[in-house]
């Protein structure tokens, strides 16, 4: 019988019989096929986190080798060429392959759980963006392992990146790999945006959303608009190297600065894209341990958005030393300094939350709270270099290296480690070891500051970045030794973290649904959550549905145990963008191999482009096309088309 095109969604209480029915609908296949075809956001989220963490460890090992080389003057651990490849690969790994994907992983896992929904808006696209991320990471690392890693720094300035100066495959691997990775980031961004606006449970109007929405949504709107700039820059570079175009070479009307403009139009918003979601994790977790709501929810949300809007107009502060006209420099300097205001709003909101709350000191709290300190240090050094004369003094010195590490380790890695302590119980059902956690935190914290606080001085004393060694009488010996010792201590901290994760996975105490007594919806369901997340789609009436008894903010009570059943297929609720009023029933796709097949096709295509094997390019394109047709063919199950023409009616005997 034909299913109706419209229906009133049934409402009822959550119960075991209903849950069994949902489990049958939502549970993926076991075994290898299930592994390769899953579209479950929780599995994909954890894959993102694990993959990004492995890349963090690889990038960390690369940095240790470099610090070994720099520990003493005139060392010969690495040749200059090896050093070039290592620092470039380290930057590429940390900035592109770790910092953004790890945050995508958390939001991927957490968003539907926080929104009272059963999956992301586009589950198959979600699987595709993970597979492409993995494939492009492998592509880039194959370059590194075959001696063709990037060798011109992560921002890869021309003309050194062009073929005359760089004849090997290094830059081709990097260029094509970055275009490849960019498709994954863009698809992820589209998915986050639509998920944020259309799949929040009824009642979760835009003023009640969890803070994590603000950071991740803002970052991904930016990604959608700026990733094309860097993909284009790298694509033009590849054309310049392989097909004799003239975008960047001055003798034929090109402009080396075109590269810098395109790169930093992307690059600076990207810096915010890899910190704003992490800041939102702090806004999410810190208040829970302070036992009160975040102070200034609305201004923090607005300042998140304001940071990004300003962030679109500051890219030239990476180019102060390139001889641009003074008026332009003043404008970009002013805009960069203005970013202090929204950043300070967040800082004071967190401080006030601690001040007005009753902090419970856990490892997660320590990671979140210490991030505030490092944000201030990294923010102040950023504020300093926003001033043109100071930047001229400090550009290309270790001061800038210290700044970027305070920003990226301080505001990305520390919140991420805190987030693992905070959400690990939800993901695995087990708590992490707190005692080991304290050791882990303090060693990481001391190691990091020991490594990077003195580095500001190294820069002020004039040591240029990206040199493979230095003379013994420059006055940099002690500082470099301290930094090397600090970085090994930091590495020990990360090692302890891994030990804690492995140990807690096996022997951690059972967590229960809500070990931290937190307020948001992900803590209202079992740990780990069932495949369908929520037995009934809840209806929320406040920002803190699980704290309603204690707070006076709610005018009504949320309904968590009674809600929309939506069990006539793989279904979840679609709601309006701002008010989150129910406006459609979403039919969700089944598991499918199409995303993986498409990834295989596109991978073959990129390898073909790299080696200029045009038959491989064509073969890859054909595989990709088949996968896309398979994927997009309108399906009756998803109500993308009318069902088959009417068949003879098959009536089942009715049992009244």
């Amino acid at each position: 019988m034909r299913a109706p095109d419209f229906r009133v969604p049934a409402v009822g209480p959550d119960n075991p019989e209903h849950q069994a029915r949902l489990l049958e609908l939502w549970e993926g296949e076991p075994g290898l096929k299930g592994f390769l075809s899953t579209v479950d956001h929780k599995k994909i989220g954890i894959r993102y986190i694990v993959t990004a963490f492995i890349l963090l460890v690889l990038g960390g090992i690369e940095s240790l080798v470099m610090r070994w080389q720099l520990a003493s003057p005139n060392a010969h651990v690495l040749t200059p060429d090896q050093y070039n490849v290592l620092f470039s690969t380290h930057g590429m790994t940390m900035i592109f392959l770790y910092a953004s994907p790890i945050l995508s992983g958390f939001s991927n896992y957490l968003w539907p759980l926080m929104f009272g929904s059963r999956d992301m808006a586009f589950p198959r696209l979600n699987a595709l963006s993970y597979w492409i991320y993995l494939a492009s990471a492998i592509f880039l690392y194959v370059g590194f392992l075959t001696g063709n890693g990037p060798n011109d720094g992560w921002f890869n300035y021309v003309p050194y990146a062009t073929r005359d100066y760089n004849p090997g495959l290094n830059q081709d691997f990097y260029s094509l790999g970055m275009v490849f990775l960019g498709t994954s980031t863009t698809m992820g961004a589209a998915n986050f945006i639509v998920t944020a606006f259309r799949t929040r449970c009824p009642g979760m109007s835009i003023n009640r959303v969890p803070m994590l929405l603000w950071g991740t949504l803002t970052a991904n709107v930016a990604n959608l608009l700026v990733v094309p700039a860097v993909s284009l820059a790298f694509f033009l570079l590849w054309l310049e190297r392989q097909f004799g175009t003239h975008f960047f070479d001055h003798s034929n009307g090109g402009q080396p600065l075109l590269w810098q403009h395109l790169f930093w139009m992307f690059g600076h918003p990207w810096v915010y894209a890899i910190v704003l979601p992490a800041m939102s994790m702090v806004s999410e977790g810190l208040p829970v341990f302070c036992r009160r709501p975040l102070v200034g929810y609305s201004v923090v949300a607005l300042s998140t958005v304001a940071t990004m809007i300003l962030g679109f107009g500051v890219w030239v502060h990476h180019m102060f030393a390139t001889g641009l006209p003074g008026l332009g420099l003043s404008f970009f300097s002013g805009a960069s300094i203005a970013i202090v205001f929204p950043s300070a709003v967040a800082i004071f909101a967190w401080l006030a939350t601690i001040w007005l709350g009753r902090p419970v000191i856990t490892t997660a709290f320590l990671y979140f709270a210490s991030m505030i300190l490092m944000f201030v240090i990294g923010g102040v050094s950023g504020f300093m270099t926003a001033s043109v004369p100071v930047d001229w003094q400090l550009t290309d010195t270790y001061f800038v290296v210290a700044h970027i590490h305070y920003v990226l380790i301080g505001i990305n890695v520390f919140p991420v480690l805190g987030a693992v302590y905070y959400w690990f119980p939800k993901m695995t059902g087990r708590l992490m070891d707190e005692r080991l956690g304290r050791w882990n935190f303090w060693i990481t914290f001391i190691g990091f500051n020991l490594a990077f606080l003195p580095m500001h001085l190294t820069g002020l004393f004039g040591m240029p970045r990206r040199v493979y060694t230095y003379g013994p009488d420059m006055g940099w010996n002690t500082l470099n030794m301290i930094t090397t010792i600090g970085s090994f201590v930091l590495a020990l901290g990360v090692l302890l973290f891994i030990v804690n994760v492995v140990k807690s996975l096996r022997t951690g105490a059972a967590a229960g649904a809500n070990p931290w007594d937190a307020a948001t919806l992900e803590w209202s369901i079992p740990s780990p959550p069932p495949p369908y997340n929520f037995g009934v789609i809840p209806i929320v009436a406040s920002r803190h549905p699980l704290w309603e008894g204690r707070l006076t903010e709610a005018t009504a009570t949320s309904s968590l145990d009674r809600g929309f059943l939506l069990d006539e297929g793989k279904e979840t609720m679609g709601t309006s963008a701002l008010d989150a009023e129910p406006n459609m029933i979403l039919e969700m796709p089944e598991d499918t191999l199409a995303p993986l097949l498409l990834t295989v096709g596109v991978s073959i295509l990129f390898v073909g482009l790299l080696l200029k094997l045009w038959t491989a390019v064509a073969a890859g394109a054909v595989v990709a096309a088949v996968a896309i047709v398979m994927w997009l063919w309108p399906r009756a199950q998803l109500r993308e088309r009318e069902p088959e023409p009417a068949q003879p009616p098959q009536r089942e005997p009715r049992h009244a």
């Binding site: 229906r7 639509v194 004799g244 003239h246 402009q255 075109l258 403009h261 395109l262 679609g574 023409p645």
Partner: protein, 203 residues
């Protein structure tokens, strides 16, 4: 803000109905990111043109003999795609097939004429930064046109299979939306590469 009362929830569409559905939002994000890509390509043109030495344009007054008719062909093709969509909306399958078919054919004609236009240019891609930008930017557009043609062909086949109704037709609306976008982008490219030289840019 109004509270959601469970008893108030009306009949809701199951899956995409009309133009309402996540697919419209998905196509919107795709178009936003593609529009950004072309904006960066045009930025590269205006930036290089503004900072270049005199006589940057290799063809100070670009020939319009092929480009103007081709622009009109593409615009008509957009109209044909719109007719195709209207055919689906009004349950007139013949009109829908004619619309998508005509849009596809006109799209192919556009590609063929663009091929001759490339050959008629007195320079090759490696001649200068202007030449590189011209071929790469129009090349990006042609790549989008080719994908648009595949989309129109798919809509043709699916309409022929009688998949759609005025209610279940989000795929049609999204596909036609993409094709209109490809046309609008061309208007920006045409203005930049064929009109601004006559206004004095890059001379």
């Amino acid at each position: 803000m109004r509270e959601v009362a469970i008893a108030d929830v009306p009949k809701l569409p199951v899956g995409p109905v009309g133009r309402q559905g996540l697919g419209s939002w998905g196509m919107g994000t795709l178009i936003a990111t593609e529009a950004a890509l072309f904006a960066y390509l045009l930025f590269a043109y205006y930036y290089l043109g503004a900072t270049a030495q005199p006589h940057w344009l290799l063809e100070p007054h670009p020939a319009l003999k092929l480009a103007v008719p081709n622009t009109i062909i593409l615009l008509i093709s957009s109209g044909a795609a719109w007719l195709g969509e209207r055919g689906v909306l009004q349950r007139r399958r013949g009109e829908a097939l004619a619309g998508f078919g005509a849009a596809t054919v006109l799209g192919i004609v556009f590609v063929v004429i663009q091929y001759f236009e490339w050959h008629a240019k007195p320079f090759k891609m490696g001649a200068s930064s202007y030449a590189s930008l011209y071929f790469v930017t129009t090349g990006f557009h042609i790549a989008h046109v080719l994908i648009g043609i595949l989309v129109l062909m798919a809509l043709f086949v699916w309409t022929a299979l009688d998949y759609f109704s005025p209610r279940r037709r989000l795929t049609v609306t999204a596909g036609a939306f993409y094709w209109h976008f490809v046309d609008v982008v061309w208007l920006f490219l045409f203005t930049t590469y064929y009109v601004t030289p006559y206004l004095g840019f890059g001379q």
